[in-house]
Amino acid sequence: MTASVASRKCLFRPGRVLFPLAVSLGVLVAASLPAPLLASPPPATPGYGSLVEEGQASVVAVRFQLRPKERPKGGEGQKVRRLVCGVLAGPPGQIIISGDFFPDMDDGPDAMEPFDFRLVMPGGDEVPAEAIGVDRELNLAFLHASPSLIRSFRAASFDPSVQAAVGDEVIVVGLLPERYNFSKAVYPARISAVLDQPRRMYSLDIPLEDLAIGGLVLLRDGRPLGIIGEDLLSEDRIQGNAANILSLLGSSNQGPHIGYPFVFPFSVFSRSLTNPPRLKDERRETRGWLGITMQPLSRDLAEYWSISSRGGVIVAGVVDGSPASAAGLSPGDVILGVDGQELPVRETSDLAQMQRLIRSAGAGRAIPLSVWREGAVRTVEVRLSSSPVTATTAQEYEDEQFGLKARELTFDYLQSANLDRSTRGVLIIGLERAGWAQVSGLQTRDIIQKVAGEPTPDLESFRQAMEKIEKSRPREVMFFILREYQTRFVRVKADWRGR
C-alpha cells in the first residue's frame, strides 16, 4: 500500500496537471519499486496506488448503436456507433451510463434510440447488456449484464454519507480512447463548486475527456463519491452558449441533448441505484398529468405579489377537464410546492422540474399542492390523471397517393393555435412537394374536416375515408378544411394513371 503510494510520487509530479495514466503501467512500476522509499516522510501530494484500484475495477467501456426511433420505409435507417464510459454499481450486473442517448417519449420520431449494448472486457471481448431503465431527472441510464460474464469487474461500493466540500481533492477514473484499448485513466481534480440546485452536484476544476464522462469519482482516500453525470441543458440555455460549454469542458454532444458535466454524488441517485425507473414503465398511461400551462415565478413577479418563496410555478392556463381544473386551480394561481417539496422555479428552464415531479408522481395519485392565491397560501389536493396524447405523441397517417401527412388533433396543438377545444379534424403536417395535395392548394396546418363529404373528426375516420377513395379512384376529391379560423373547400385533383 505505502509502496504504491510512493511509486505514484514518481509518476505524478505535484502541481502537474492532468496526465492520463495507464493503470497497468502504474501497477508494474509499483511492483518494481524498492522498499526503502517506504520510510520517506508523507508527500504533499501523494500518489493513489491501490486507493484507486477498487474504483478502476468498476469502470467499463460500453458500446452501443443508435438508430431512428421510427425506422424509415425500405430500410433500417442510418445507424451510428457510440461509446461511453459506464460504472458498475448497485445490484450485481448493473451498469450506470449517461441517460443522454435515450430519447424521451416526447421526442419526435426522428430521434435516435440506442440498442445493441456491449461491455468491452479487458482483452477486447464483448459482453451483451440490456437497457433496463432511465432516470430522466438525473439523466442516468441503467444497463444490466449477466454477472457471471463480467466477473473481472467489481461494483463500486457507494456510501451515501460520503460528501465533499469546495477545494477537496478528488480522483476521476475514466477511460482512454479505443485505440489505447480503453485503458483506465485517472485524473486528479478539485471540487470547484458545490451546487444544491436543482440537486446536490459538484463541479470540477479540470476539463474532462469524452470517456471520463460517465466515469467514477473517488475521494482522496479512495472512497467513491459519485459519478460524472451530465446535467441536461434545456434548449433555451443551449442556445447562444453551447459552443462555450463544449469548448471549455470538452464535453460531448453525442446524444439528442447537450449536457454539462458534474459530479453526481451517490446520495442523489442511491434510490435509483437499487430500484431504477424501468423503461417499460415509461408509458403515457402511467405518467402523472396535471393539465396546466406554466410560467416560472420570476423574482420580479414574486416581489410584486410579495411571495417569499424560493420560486414557484404560475398557473397560466388550465386545460378543461384536467385534474387541475377538477381541483379548482385557475389562471393566476401560483404553485409553491408539490407533495411537500419546494419548487425553486425561477426561469423557463427550471419548469422541467415541475414536469418531472408531476410525471414521476404517476397517474392516479393524489398529491397536495401548496397554492398561492391572492395573498393566501392553501393546500389543494389534486388527483393526477394520465397524460393525454400530445402533438409529439399523436398518431400520424401518411397518404402517399395524395402526398400528405396528417396528425390527429391534440389539446396542446389546439391551445397553441388558439382553436376551440371542440375543434375536430386532422391536421396536415406534411405535404409532398408537387404532390396532388400541394398542387391543389392544401397547406400545412390546414385542418381537414371532411373528405369527399365524409366527416373526418379523427385520424381513424380520415384513414378510412382515404382508403375508400383509393378504391374508387375519383378524378378529384373535395377536402373541406379549416384554415385561419375559416372553413373552405379545396378541390384536389388526382391522376391515377400509372399508379
Binding site: D300, A316, G453, T487, R488
Partner: protein, 489 residues
Amino acid sequence: MRMIRISLRFFFFLTAVAAASGCAANRTSVHQSMEQMIFHARDRVFPALVHIEPILEVYQSGQRGRIAVTGSGVIFSTDGYVLTNNHVVERAERVTCTLSDKQEVTAAVVGRDPETDVAVIQLDVSQVRGKLPVAELGDSSRLQLGQRVMAMGSPLGLARSVSLGIISSLDRYLPEDQMPAGAATGQFNTWIQTDAAINPGNSGGPLVDLGGRVIGINSRAVTVFGENVGFAIPINLVHETAEKIIHHGSPQRSWLGVNWQPLKVISDGGARGQNGILVGGVVPNSPAERAGLRAGDVLVSYDGRSVAVRYEEELPPFRKMEADTPVGKTVQLGVLRDGSSVMFSAVTVERKSAEAEDFECREWGFTVRAINDEIARARNLDQTTGVIVTGIKRGSFAAEGELVGGLVIDSIDGQPIPNLDAFRQVYASLVGEKRDRVLIVTRRGSVLHFHLLKPTYEKSSPKAMDHDQDDDQEQSDDNDGPGDFHHDG
C-alpha cells in the same frame, strides 16, 4: 368617344396595309399617327396629374413615428377632388401636392376605402392659380385586352413621368392570401394588368387610354420577381367608390358573412353539373348564420337573380352585388342543399372595416391597437375586449417585461382593459403617478401570461427621434405578408 374609335380603326387599318405592303412610307405614317394619339391623350390627362407627398403617421417597432412618402393622383373635378390610393394617404398627417405646372398646393383627405384601395383628397383650390385642369374618366367596362394604355405618375418619386404599354389582362384575380397582410383589396374587382412600367410612387396615378380618358388607378406592381407586371383598379369601381366617399364619407357596403367560393366542376359529391356559388364557410353570428346557411350549400339565386361563379375571377362581381345591397335589406337566398332547393332570408348588415386605432405607450415602449369585430374574427379572439400589442421598442421596459407583439392585453395592475379607451385611461393614470411596477396580464385563448414592467420616468421625456424606419421592424406582427406583391407608393 366617337373620334377615338375612328382613329383606332384607322390605326388598325393602317397596320394591316403596312403588313401587306411592307411599305416603309406606310410604317412611318403608322408611327406618326400613333405618336399623335399619345400626344393627344397625354395632353388631355397630364395637366390634371398630381404628385402627392404625404407625411404619414406610422406605428412601427413599438413606437409612433412619421414617414414621408410619394404617390400620385389625378384631379377629376373642378372642386379640386383628386383620386388616389388609400395606401398613399392612409394615416396622413398632412398632404402636399404638386400640380403638373409645378404649383404646390396642400390637400385634405376626404375619405378612404381600404377594401378597394381608393381614396379621395381635395386640393385647397384657393391656393391654385389659374383654372384647375380636370381629367375625364373613361368606362372601364369597355376595355379590351391588348389595348394601348399609358401610366402617369411619380415612379420612385420622379414626378410627371409617363410610360406606355398595353392591357395585359382584364380579369386578373389576386386572391386575398397572396396579398400583403392588411392590404387585402380586390374583393370587388378584377384588376387591369398592364405592362406599362409601374413602380413604387406610381400609386394613385392614372392609367390612361389613347383617347385621353382615365380608365384605371395604378395601385400595385410585382416588384420582386417580375417586370412589367402592374395592376390598376378599374375606373368604374374607383369612381363609384369615390362618389360614395364624397357624399357619405364611407363606401357603405352590405355584408352577409359568407366565405363564397367558385363552384367548379365537381365530379364527385352531390353537386354534379350544377351552377351556383359554393358556401365555403359561414361566419359565426353573421346574417348568413342567423339565416341558416351552412358550409356546402350552393347559392343559386340572390334576391331573385340567378347567380353562378365557376372560376374565382367571377367572384368579385358577385361580392360587389352583395356589397351594393342596401344595408338592412332582407334578401332571399335560393340554395341547393343535398339536392333540394331551399329558400333563406337574410338581413344584411354593414360591412365593417378592419382598420383600428393605434396607440403608443411611449413611457413603457410599446404600441397597441384597438380590437374591432374584424380583428377579433381574423384572430379568433373570443370577445372583442382588450387591446392587441402591435410592437415592442427594442430595449424598452416592455421588452424587459417580455411583452411581445400579437398578445392581447387583458388587465393592467388588476384593472380590466375592455377597450382602447380604458387602456388609455389606465396608462395615463399609472404614468401620471409614475408607477414603477406595472403588472400587465396578456391572454392568448384561455392562457394568460404575466409581465412585470419596471419603468423609470425621466423628468421630461425626450421627444422621440425618427430613426431609420426600414431596418428594425422587430416584433411587429403586422408585417408578415408574402413578398411577391408590394405596395408601391
